[in-house]
């Protein structure tokens, strides 16, 4: 083959590869477009399904409350059965919420939308959203707020993280259970100052071998799903904020759930954090001591 022919052959091959590349590019574009369409369908379905599932649950809750209030007019056997209704409806509602949140989960794309938020205000909001459930279930929910600070975080997700940790604990407790929520500011983890959130209960001791599983990806073991969903979600939020979630034993033998989030994701030293005492709670700031068997996420 002469040099000229070889060059022509090479040009033809280059042209063929270019055409192939173009075809593949168009194919990829069509696939991407189809996937985007499917994602939109999934989102629309989830939106409708969420509404369709939650509406009957709301009605169910209302009926359960009405029946419970009239329980004294029922025979003893029915009274006991009716007494379990509100709690079971609450569990069903929580489970549906978990399912919807997992269905919406997109781990790779989760980027927190950072804004300045007051740490203790988020804790109060989280407590408020769990409060009715605590009262209904006869769980004593204590709150010890220490100094607060402005944290640069995704408001909605940070609040949900706190709710998830409280829920994880509450789901383990029965009537008469005791749960303490604490907060504060510290530089315990790493060189940067951060805000911490601690939930401790007097519920049953958990198996150490499960502690690690609690924070792992949900595609792993099917065990402990009752507590794993909210805890997994909380862990995901903490990691996305360069924070940590730790699990250990509480001093009263129950579970100890600890979250730490840096006050700022960047430029912490250039912009020292503003800390102040919550004028509503003047407790001393105490750095939590990590005791017992702690599993880092």
């Amino acid at each position: 083959m002469s040099g000229e022919n070889a060059q022509e052959e090479m040009m033809r091959e280059i042209m063929r590869l270019k055409e192939e590349l173009l075809r593949k590019g168009e194919e990829l574009s069509r696939t991407e477009s189809r996937l985007r369409g499917l994602l939109q369908i999934k989102d629309r379905f989830l939106s409708l399904a969420t509404h369709d599932i939650r509406t009957p649950i709301t009605t169910l809750k209302l009926i359960a409350n009405i029946v419970e209030r009239s329980a004294d007019q029922l025979p003893d056997l029915l009274q006991r059965t009716v007494g379990t209704l509100p709690r079971n409806v609450a569990k069903l509602e929580a489970k549906v919420d978990d399912l919807v949140r997992i269905a919406r989960l997109d781990v790779d794309d989760f980027v927190p939308e950072l804004e300045a938020v007051d740490w203790n205000e988020q804790i109060k909001a989280a407590i408020a959203s769990c409060f009715a459930s605590a009262v209904q279930r006869g769980i004593e929910l204590d709150l010890q707020l220490n100094e607060t600070a402005t944290v640069h975080a995704d408001t909605e997700h940070i609040r949900q993280m706190m709710v998830d940790l409280i829920r994880t604990s509450m789901d383990r407790l029965d009537l008469g259970g005791h749960l303490v929520v604490e907060s504060g500011i510290s530089s315990q983890t790493g060189p940067n100052p951060g805000a911490w959130f601690l939930v401790q209960d007097n519920g049953p001791a958990f198996n150490d071998t499960h502690a690690e599983l609690l924070l792992q990806d949900l595609t792993g073991s099917q065990q402990q799903t009752r507590v794993r969903v909210p805890l997994f979600m909380a862990h995901r939020v903490a990691i996305a904020h360069s924070g940590v979630i730790e699990i250990g034993h509480s001093s009263s033998g129950g579970i100890r759930l600890y979250a730490w989030i840096p006050l700022k994701q960047k430029d912490t030293e250039e912009n020292p954090p503003e800390t102040r005492h919550d004028d509503q709670h003047n407790h001393h700031t105490e750095k939590p001591i990590i005791s017992g068997e702690v599993n880092h996420g």
Partner: protein
Amino acid sequence: MANPTVIHACPVVNQNECKDLKDELDGAVDSGQQLIVVDCAECRYLNSMAISEIMSAHVRLSARGGRLHLSGVSGFVRQCLDSVGALSMLHVYETVQDASVPEQEP
């Protein structure tokens, strides 16, 4: 009607403080008092049991024609009371003085 019993809720009512609050409420109810005022002006947090105790005292008093009034409820305490539907069941007033008038409706 005799003067009401006024119970002042402390700034943070957690487990220990809740026991004291329960004792005060039980004492007032058992003494035959017809009007109890729980003053929350200084209170920034009432735990879940404290609210249950207040509701329980309200039910016991109502059963014999008495009343339990709240005063000075604001901020986070109001939010927690509202979340359990207590605000729609209890009589809430701005001040202890307002709450101490038995005839007054909210």
